[in-house]
């Protein structure tokens, strides 16, 4: 149902009413923006001097770009590991052998249920005890993100394979394929197509969650941009928040659009018999973008067609 069905094409009186509502809402939105502007202005947040640092290349060179690289590095490494973790445990959960299926299920459910920050803290404190001194911030962020997002991706993989119509595997068995061949040649190629949007949405979540590294002092964009930079340029805290906020939003929206585009493409695709899999936790009606810090949740899985 498209949203426009909620109201008729307005007649003369409706148009006048809508125009009036438009004017009122413009005034309301304007008033909110003006109040924010006044609040900022009263505290001198629009003085050129605190915005000045962002016009200099050195600021970007010393603070923002190294931070961005730190964020992207953690996200890239964690994404690769999470995809591997998700593939292994997702397939393990589909195994016919209970001694593989059950432990894999326990691991996935447990890591999905643990608040990510607690997991990162725990790894951060455990690592020096096991491996001796050193800086484990990067490792803690990456391993935490891998375990959590990998578990969510494992569910995506499972749902993706289940989304392939049963007739496909029955036909494959009927022509004499082995279990291994059915999975490798028939189910997975179709499942991957239908999983792509959900995987990309989960990667958005992963990228966003690298910001948790800020709390354990991992040198990411949030850390260099929001902690180190304002300490260097006194008073530039709010401009810094706005600048790095824009960078995060731009990065994530670009990935989200990729997810939406992939979803639209795979809906049209004739290469797979499976419908696109929704990201776990999203309503099944295709909320393309990932949920926030912790997308999934413990809600019992709905059978995804």
């Amino acid at each position: 149902m498209s949203t426009s069905v909620l109201f008729d094409a307005p007649g003369p009186r409706g148009r006048i009413r809508n125009h009036a509502l438009t004017v009122i809402s413009v005034i309301a939105v304007g008033a909110v923006l003006y109040a924010v502007y006044r609040g900022f202005d009263n505290k001198g947040q629009f003085e050129g001097k605190i915005w000045q640092p962002f016009l200099q290349w050195e600021t970007w060179d010393f603070y923002i770009i190294p931070g961005l690289i730190g964020t992207l590095q953690a996200a890239a490494v964690a994404a690769v590991l999470a995809l591997a973790f998700g593939a292994i445990f997702g397939l393990a959960r589909l195994s016919d052998h209970a001694w593989i299926r059950v432990p894999a299920g326990v691991v996935v459910e447990v890591f999905r249920a643990i608040p990510l920050l607690l997991l990162i803290f725990f790894i951060f404190y455990l690592a020096p005890m096991v491996g001796g001194g050193g800086d484990y911030a990067f490792m803690a962020v990456v391993v935490g993100l891998m375990l959590y997002n990998g578990s969510v991706l494992a569910e995506v993989v499972r749902a993706g394979v289940h989304a392939v119509p049963r007739g496909q595997s029955e036909a494959a068995y009927a022509v004499g394929m082995r279990k291994n061949q059915v999975m490798r040649l028939v189910l997975l190629p179709q499942a991957v197509t239908s999983m792509m949007p959900a995987i990309v949405s989960q990667l958005v979540v992963l990228l966003k969650d690298t910001a948790l590294g800020y709390i354990i002092a991992y040198v990411d964009l949030l850390n260099t941009g929001f902690k180190i930079l304002p300490a260097r340029f006194f008073g530039s805290l709010i401009p810094a928040a706005i600048v790095i906020g824009i960078i995060y939003v731009a990065l994530n929206m670009a990935l989200s659009y990729l997810a939406t585009w992939l979803e639209r493409r795979s809906r049209r695709s004739r290469k797979t018999a499976a419908r696109p899999v929704a990201a776990p936790g999203a309503a099944e009606v295709g909320v393309a973008a990932g949920q926030g810090t912790e997308g999934g949740g413990l809600a019992p899985d709905k059978p995804l067609e």
Partner: protein, 222 residues
């Protein structure tokens, strides 16, 4: 195990703060999310644009940034103060940031719910002369809410787990902060970690099962 018993009272108090944060944020984000949804499906383009802008910006910003900005920016720099007591103030700052963040996800879940309502329902509502607000509150929203009970449950579970990020908003009394302080003294302790994890699971699992049960019970037969 001894460590868990020794520090259990502190950790319990910390966890209680998470529960309180969850309750405040659940109520506030459901209300705010519903308002945002009404804006996003309204006949007024300005409101639609404002709602869409809000959801897209907030949803793509890391929660850590939202909370850190609320505490350091809004509270310290711009003077948004809820209470003179620093701890109480940071509680409400975090509750606010968490609600603002979660509301975007509530709105998205509800919008997916509105999409499940068949076109004929809205057309019938219009045909009998209901206005936009009437058809929204009497026809569309009741069905939309029923369709998204389980996804809303997931959003709430995610929100409960997100209360641990309160540390980033300067609220140093929640379970995650207490655990960090304890670890500073004892080093990483597996019993303490597992204890807190189990506490969170005790809180989130029933919500998952309850909303799952509720969604099957309330499912609109079509």
């Amino acid at each position: 195990m001894d460590e868990l018993i020794k520090y259990a009272p502190d950790l319990g108090l910390g966890f209680l703060e998470n529960v309180k944060l969850s309750i405040v944020a659940a109520v506030a984000s459901l209300i705010l999310g519903t308002i945002l949804l009404a804006m996003r499906v309204s006949p007024t383009p300005v409101l639609r644009a404002a709602g869409t802008f809000y959801v897209n910006v907030v949803r793509n910003t890391p929660l850590t940034l939202v909370l850190a900005f609320s505490a350091l920016g809004l509270s310290d720099q711009l003077g948004l103060v809820f209470s003179e007591t620093p701890l109480t103030n940071s509680f409400w700052i975090v509750a606010m940031g968490l609600s603002v963040y979660t509301a975007a996800f509530v709105c998205e879940a509800l919008r997916a719910g509105v999409n499940t309502v068949p076109m004929g329902q809205a057309e019938a509502a219009r045909a009998i002369g209901l206005t936009f607000m009437q058809s929204l509150t009497m026809i569309i929203l009741p069905q939309a809410f029923r369709a998204v009970v389980a996804p809303l449950g997931s959003v709430m579970i995610a929100m409960i787990k997100n209360t641990t990020v309160a540390t980033a908003g300067g609220f140093l009394a929640d379970a995650a902060a207490v655990m960090k302080i304890t670890f500073d003294q004892t080093g990483a302790s597996i019993p303490i970690f597992l204890g807190i994890v189990v506490a969170f699971m005790v809180l989130t699992m029933p919500i998952g099962f309850f909303t799952g049960w509720l969604s099957r019970r309330l499912a609109v037969v079509r």
